[in-house]
Symmetry: D2
Subunit: 451 residues, 4 copies
Amino acid sequence: MSIPYKEQLLTIEKVFRDPVHDYIHVQHQVILDLINAKEFQRLRRIKQLGTTSFTFHGGEHSRFGHSLGVYEITRRICDLFRRNYSIEDDPDNGWDDSERLVALCAALLHDVGHGPYSHTFEGIFNTNHEEFTMMIITSPETEVFQILNQVEAGFPEKVASVIRKDYPNPQVVQMISSQIDADRMDYLLRDAYFTGTEYGTFDLTRILRVIRPYKEGITFSTNGMHAVEDYIVSRYQMYMQIYFHPVSRAMEVILDHLLKRGTFLYQEDPHYYEGHSRLLIPFFENAYTLEDYLKLDDGVLNTYFTVWADDKDQILSDLAARFLNRRPFKSARFQPGEDDTLITEMTQLIERVGFNPTFYTAVNTSYDLPYDFYRPDQKHHRTQIELIEKDGSLIELSKASDLVAALAGQTHGDERFFFPKEMIQNDRTNLFSDEFTEFSRYIHNGALRRP
Amino acid sequence: MSIPYKEQLLTIEKVFRDPVHDYIHVQHQVILDLINAKEFQRLRRIKQLGTTSFTFHGGEHSRFGHSLGVYEITRRICDLFRRNYSIEDDPDNGWDDSERLVALCAALLHDVGHGPYSHTFEGIFNTNHEEFTMMIITSPETEVFQILNQVEAGFPEKVASVIRKDYPNPQVVQMISSQIDADRMDYLLRDAYFTGTEYGTFDLTRILRVIRPYKEGITFSTNGMHAVEDYIVSRYQMYMQIYFHPVSRAMEVILDHLLKRGTFLYQEDPHYYEGHSRLLIPFFENAYTLEDYLKLDDGVLNTYFTVWADDKDQILSDLAARFLNRRPFKSARFQPGEDDTLITEMTQLIERVGFNPTFYTAVNTSYDLPYDFYRPDQKHHRTQIELIEKDGSLIELSKASDLVAALAGQTHGDERFFFPKEMIQNDRTNLFSDEFTEFSRYIHNGALRRP
Amino acid sequence: MSIPYKEQLLTIEKVFRDPVHDYIHVQHQVILDLINAKEFQRLRRIKQLGTTSFTFHGGEHSRFGHSLGVYEITRRICDLFRRNYSIEDDPDNGWDDSERLVALCAALLHDVGHGPYSHTFEGIFNTNHEEFTMMIITSPETEVFQILNQVEAGFPEKVASVIRKDYPNPQVVQMISSQIDADRMDYLLRDAYFTGTEYGTFDLTRILRVIRPYKEGITFSTNGMHAVEDYIVSRYQMYMQIYFHPVSRAMEVILDHLLKRGTFLYQEDPHYYEGHSRLLIPFFENAYTLEDYLKLDDGVLNTYFTVWADDKDQILSDLAARFLNRRPFKSARFQPGEDDTLITEMTQLIERVGFNPTFYTAVNTSYDLPYDFYRPDQKHHRTQIELIEKDGSLIELSKASDLVAALAGQTHGDERFFFPKEMIQNDRTNLFSDEFTEFSRYIHNGALRRP
Amino acid sequence: MSIPYKEQLLTIEKVFRDPVHDYIHVQHQVILDLINAKEFQRLRRIKQLGTTSFTFHGGEHSRFGHSLGVYEITRRICDLFRRNYSIEDDPDNGWDDSERLVALCAALLHDVGHGPYSHTFEGIFNTNHEEFTMMIITSPETEVFQILNQVEAGFPEKVASVIRKDYPNPQVVQMISSQIDADRMDYLLRDAYFTGTEYGTFDLTRILRVIRPYKEGITFSTNGMHAVEDYIVSRYQMYMQIYFHPVSRAMEVILDHLLKRGTFLYQEDPHYYEGHSRLLIPFFENAYTLEDYLKLDDGVLNTYFTVWADDKDQILSDLAARFLNRRPFKSARFQPGEDDTLITEMTQLIERVGFNPTFYTAVNTSYDLPYDFYRPDQKHHRTQIELIEKDGSLIELSKASDLVAALAGQTHGDERFFFPKEMIQNDRTNLFSDEFTEFSRYIHNGALRRP
C-alpha cells in the first residue's frame, strides 16, 4: 500500500472497553502498534497506585489502562478542537490538526518509563521514570522507537520533546502536561472509579465542552469556570483522602526499608542471593541497562520478597513478611518544625524494645500544591490556568474563584512519624509493657505531643 | 477479657471501601483476624479473572476483593434473615442466627485455596484449588486454622464442611454455594464493574428483598421471580460475552503450552533452571507441600516467564514472550463432532510452516450450563432454584420463567481451534505464502469449513 | 445570509444536559427551532409514564426529555453511518447522509402528538396520538409545520411519512421505528434511570458499535448478537416489572372510570360544570380541534379532578379523590378463558356492598410481544431483526439466540380483575363483614379461584 | 390489637424504589399512613425545582420523592446512632431512640406545606410554606394531624416544634435542620441525579459513617473532615451551577410578572375570569384558607396560564405564552452598587420599543451563604458544624478546612438585570433596529457596562 504509515487509518476503528471512558477509540495504525509494543504491554504488570491498594482494595488497576485513558482524553480534545477551533478558521489561536499524531503518541507514552512502585524504587536505586520514558522513546532497540521512527525520521524525538515540555507548540504540550491536562484528568477519574470513592469525580464532559486552544496554549471559557474549579477541588480531595492515606504510606515505608535492607545485604556479600533475585542485581550494583529496567515489574519484586521472607536475616525476612502480609506500621502526625526531641525520645523507646530504628522508623512527608499561578521568580513555575472571556481577554483561575484562591500557592498534606504497631499494644503481660505505656503517652488525638 | 473470642464484636465496626458494595462491614474480631491472615492477604496477588484482563483491561482485580464481597453479601443475607425470618418466629423454616459466624467464615474463605491462573495451572500440575482451600482451613500450621480453632475446637472443620456442602444446615450451605449464591452474585457484579461492561448487572438489592430461608435451604418469593430470572440471564451473558472471550482463551492456551514446555525442559534436565524458577520446582517434580503452594502467585509465574523469555530454548522463549507481550493465537469456531479432518489438515499446514503443533495449536472448549433443575438420575446434580408462594408451596424456577426454561439444561458456549496468528497473514512475499493462503481457505465467517 | 435554512449549522453546537445521554447535541438551526416550538415545549407537561409514577415515584419525567433522547440516539447513528458505512463507499448498502435531517426531525417529533395519560384518554375520547402527531407536523397553523416547511416545500409531509413508515428509504424508517429503534432504546434506558430500576439497562454503546445499514434497512453484526439479545431481554423485563405493574394499572382503571363518569355527567347535563372544566368540553362533545387538543396536559386533567373531588356526584368525587390521593384498587390475576362465573359472582358481592360495578370494577389485560420474526400471513407484521455475517449473509435474530427464540412470537403479561380495596378489609365490625369474608375466599396466592 | 399505634411495626417492611437511596424503608404503620395522607400525596404534583427544569430538563422530580429521601436519611442516622452511640452506653452524649418516631415524622413532613413554584408564589401572595407546614401538621381537619394525633395527644405539636427548631432535644432538631442535615443532603444528591449533573454528588455513605450525636446536637469525627468539607463544596457548586442558573431565574421572572398581571386584572375587575381560574380567586382576594391552599399545585397554575394565553389582555396572554412555551428573558450581570443609571437608561430603551417595564424587566439577585460559623451578634445565626476529636474536644469546621474557611461567611451568587430577548436581536430591517443596537452596547462579556 502506498499510504504513508502516519496516515494509515484502521478501516474499522478498534475499540477497548474501558470502565471510565466507556470505549477507547483507536483510529491510527501507529497507535495500535504502540499499544502492542512490548514496552507498553509491560505497563499491565505495574500498578497505577502502588501501595494504595493496601488501603483501598479496589485500586489494583495498572498503568496500562491509565495510559489508554490519557490517550483517549487527548483524542477527544483533538476532535473538539478540529471541529470548533481549527487553525483554518482562526489562524492566530486555532488548533493545527496536523499535530494530532504527535499529541496522541505523547499522551499514550507519557508514563511508559514507569517501573514497579516507582516512588520508592527511585528513591533507593536512583532511577528516574521520566528519564526511562525518554530512553524508551528514543532508543533504537525498543519496539516503541521502531514504530515511531517509521512515522518519519525524528518523530521519536518530537514525541519525547512534548513529554519534556520543550516542543514548540504549547497547545500540544499543555494538553499532556499542565495543571489541568489529560493525564491528571484521567487518573483522578480512574483512581476514583477503581477505589470506589467519589472524591475524584468531576465533570469531564463539561470540561471537554469549555476547553479551547489559544496562541499560548490551552484555556477555558469563563462560563466553564465552576467546572474547572470543581476539578481543582476534586484533585485536592483525592490527594487528601486517597493518595496521602497514612496506611498506604506506612506500607511504602516498609517497602523502602525492605529494599534498603536487601541492597545492604548484597553490598555486604555479592553472593548473598545465590542465583535468585537475579533481576535486581544490576540495581544493587548500580549498573543497570534499559533492558534490565524493562524486566522489572511489581510481580518481580513481590516474588523476591516471597523468597526473602524465608531468609536467615531477621530484618529482611520480617520486613518482607510485613509487606507481603500487609502489616503496616502505625503513625502519628506532627507539625513541621515541632519539637524534634519528641521523635528522638520515641525512637529511643523503640530501640530499647529491640527494633533497629533505621529499619523500623521513618518520617514521611506528603504534601501537594493543588494549584498555583505563575510565579516568575520560581525556578519550576507552573503554567497557570487561564479562563477566556468572549472578547478574548484572559483571567487567571484563582482570580475568578474564591475556592481556588484558597488552595492556590498553599501546600496541603501532613508529616508523620512511623513506628511498629507493637509499640502501642496494650498487653500488660509483655516484657516491655512499661515501654509501650510510656510510648503511648507521646500520642494524643493521633498526633505527637509532649507527654 | 472474658468475652469468648467468637462473640467478640468490634466496638466500632471496621469498614473496607468497596466499589461494588460501597462498604464491607466487619463486626467480628474473628473476621478481621481472618482478613489479616497471611493466607488470605495472599489473594491480593492473584487476579480474579486470569487472562481475561488481556481482553478487558479493567479486569485486573484480585480474588481478595471478591472474597470480601462474598462475605458482605452473606452478612447482609444473615441480617435480613435474622430480622424477618428468625427461627424464633418460625421454628420450621426460620433462620438460626447462631449459624452466622460459620456462614461468614465460609463465605470469606471459600476461595482461599486459589492459586495463580488456577484453571490452567491445575490442568498442568494436577493441583486442585478446592482441596487447597480445605487444607488451608484445616491444617494446624496456617494462620487461618489458628484463628478458626480459637473460636472453638472443631470449628475449622465446620467451616470446611460448609464449603464442601456437607454441613447439616442447608440454609448455610446454599447461601455460599447453589445456583444463586453469594459467590456468584458477587463475581457477576464485580467482574462487570471492573471490566466496564453492563451484562453482569442485576438487581442485587431486589434479590436481597425476596430471598427467604426455608426448611430445605434458600428460596425466593414468587413476586421476585423476574429479579431471579434477570440474574440467570446476566450470568449467561457474562459467560457468553466476557468469560468465554476467544482472545482470553487464546492467551490461556499460550500459558498452558508455556507451562508445559517449562515442565518438559525441567524433566529432561533437573538442572535446567540453575537456581532460578525455584518456587516452581516442587511442582515440576510433582512433590509440593501446602507451604510451596502458598508461595505462588501471578507475579511469581510472570517473573519466571520474564527470565524464560531470554532462554535458549526457542519454544520456551517464544511462548514466554507471546504471553508477556500479549500476542494471542487466532482461532476459529467449529461444531462439536464436525469433520475432524479439517483440523488435521490445518495442523499439517501449521507444521509445514515450522511450528511444533504440540505447542502451537490447541482445541479449547468453553461451555456453561446457565441453570438446571434437579435431575435425580445425575451424579452431580444441582440444587434447583425454588420460588415460594404466599401459602408456602414451591415452584421450580424454570416452570415460572420462559426465559429460564430456554436456558435450563442446555449448555452454551463454543469449541475453537487455536493457531498462530502468522498463519493468516497475507504477506505475499513470505516464503510460506502458499501455505498461508491455503490455510485461510479453511476459515469462513469465523468458523472452520471445508475449503 | 444566503445559506439555505436546511444547511444552517449552529456556529457553536448547542447542548442540553441529559442524565441518560450526558449531553444532547444540537447542530442544526432547524432542530433548535423545533425544540423551541410551542407544540414541542408542551411535552414538558406530559409525563412519559402516566400512572407509573404512582408505583415508582422517580418516574415523573416528561415526554420532552424522551423526545430529545430519541433525537440524540438517531444523531449518533447517523454519525456512525456517515463515518463507517457511507453510500459513497458502498453504493448498494451504504447510508446516504442527505437523509440526516429528515431522520432527525422524525426522531424528535415522533411523539409530539401525545396527550395527557394517552392510553386511557384515547380509550375514552376516541382520540389517537399518532394521528395528532401527523396533524401537528402537517397542519399549516402549527409552529412545527412552519419550521419544517421553511426547510423546503413538502418537507413536513416527508417527516410525517417517516413516522408513518411509508418513507421510501427503509434505513430512515427503521432507525425510528422497528423492533430495535432509537425510540425503544431511549425509553428503556430513560425509564430505568428515572424509576431507579436496573432492568432496562442494556449496552447502548455496544449496540451503537455493531449497528449497520444495508439495502433493506438496519442490521447488526453477528458479533454483536449478545448485545442485541440483551436489549430484547431488557425490554421484556421492563414490561414485566415496570410497565405492567398492577398498582399502576389500578390507578389507570380509576382514571378511566373517573373520565367516564365526568363525561357521563356532562352528557346528562351540558351545564353541569358551569364554566369550569372548560378545556375538556370539546372532548365531552366529541367535537374537538387540534387547537383544543394542544391545550391539554396532565396538569389540566388533575386541576379538573381537584374541582371534581368536591362535586356533589358521589361517584365523581370519590373517584377523583382516589386518583389524586393515590388510593389504588386491588386486583387478582386470572387465566384468560378461566371460569367467567368467578368474576360475575365477585362483582355481585361488590354490588351488594354498595359499589356501582361499572365504576368500581374492571378487567385489565396487559400483554406484550417482546419480539417477533416476520410473519407474511399476518396483517401487522413486524420487521424482524437481522444479523449480518462478514460475507453479507443475514440471520434472523431468534435463529441465533435461544433466549430470543424463547420470547419470540409469545405474548407475555397477565389479565387482572380490579376491585375496591375495601372488599378485602378484615374489619369484623363492619356491616358487610360477611361479604368481605366471602369475597376474600375467591383469592388465593394473588389469583382468582373457586372458593 | 393492643399494640399502641406508635409502636405498630409493619410485619414486612414496606419499601419504595428510589433512584437516589435504592430503597426507602418504611417500618412504622404511622409513617406509611402519613405517606398515604392526601396532604402528602399532593406533593407529587409540585416540582422540587420549579423553573429549573426549563434549563435542566431532567429536573422534573417532585417534592414527594425528596420528602421520602429526607425521611430515609434520618432513618439511617437513627439506626446508626442506636447501634453505635446509644444513650444507654453514653448518658451524656448518646442518642435516645425513643426520639426516633418524632424525628422520622418531622423529616417526612418538613416540606409538606410547599405549594406550586413556592418562591415566586409566596412573593406575590404573601403566603409562607413554613407556616402552611405548621398548619397542616397541627390543624385538626387534616389527615396528617389525625394520624399524628393518634400516636398520642400533643404529638402533632411535638413534630411541629422539631421543624420550628424549638424542640428540646437538639440532636433531633439538627438532624432535620442545620447546615448539614438530612434535608440538604437529600436534595443535593437528588437534584444532581435528576438534572444529570455531578456537582451535587458527595459521599453520603462516608458522612453516615462519621456522624455522631453529642450533648448539644450533631457532630462529625475529625477523620471525616474531608467528607464534610466535600459536602460544603458540593452544596456551593449546586447553587452556583444549578440553582442560580440565569435561564431558570429568567423563567421565574416571567412567572412572577405573569402572576402579578393576573392579580392586577382581577383586582381591577373581580368578574374578569368568569368562573375559570377559580382556585386562584381566594389568593387574588387575599382571603384563603388552608383548604384553598391545598388545592393548588403546579398543574393548576399551568392550566390557568393555558387559558390566559388566549386572554384579551395582551400582557397577560403574552407572558402566559412565554412561560408555557419557554421563552426566557435574557439577562446581564452587574455589580451590586454599580452605576444605577445604566439600568435606568436600558429600561428607557425597552420602554421606547414598546414594552411595559413593570412586566418586562426585572432585577434578580441570587446569593447563597455556603457555610457560616456561629455569630452570636447576629439575629438569625446558624448552628455551626463541629468536628469531634477522640478526646471529645470540638473544632469548628472552618478552622480545620481551608476550603470551608474560604467559603465561610461570604455570600456567593450574582445580581442580574432581565429584559426581553427581542432587545438584542440583530435584525436590521426591524423598525427599532437603532434601539436594539444601542441597547446591545450596554452589554459586554455578559455584564452591564457604560457604552
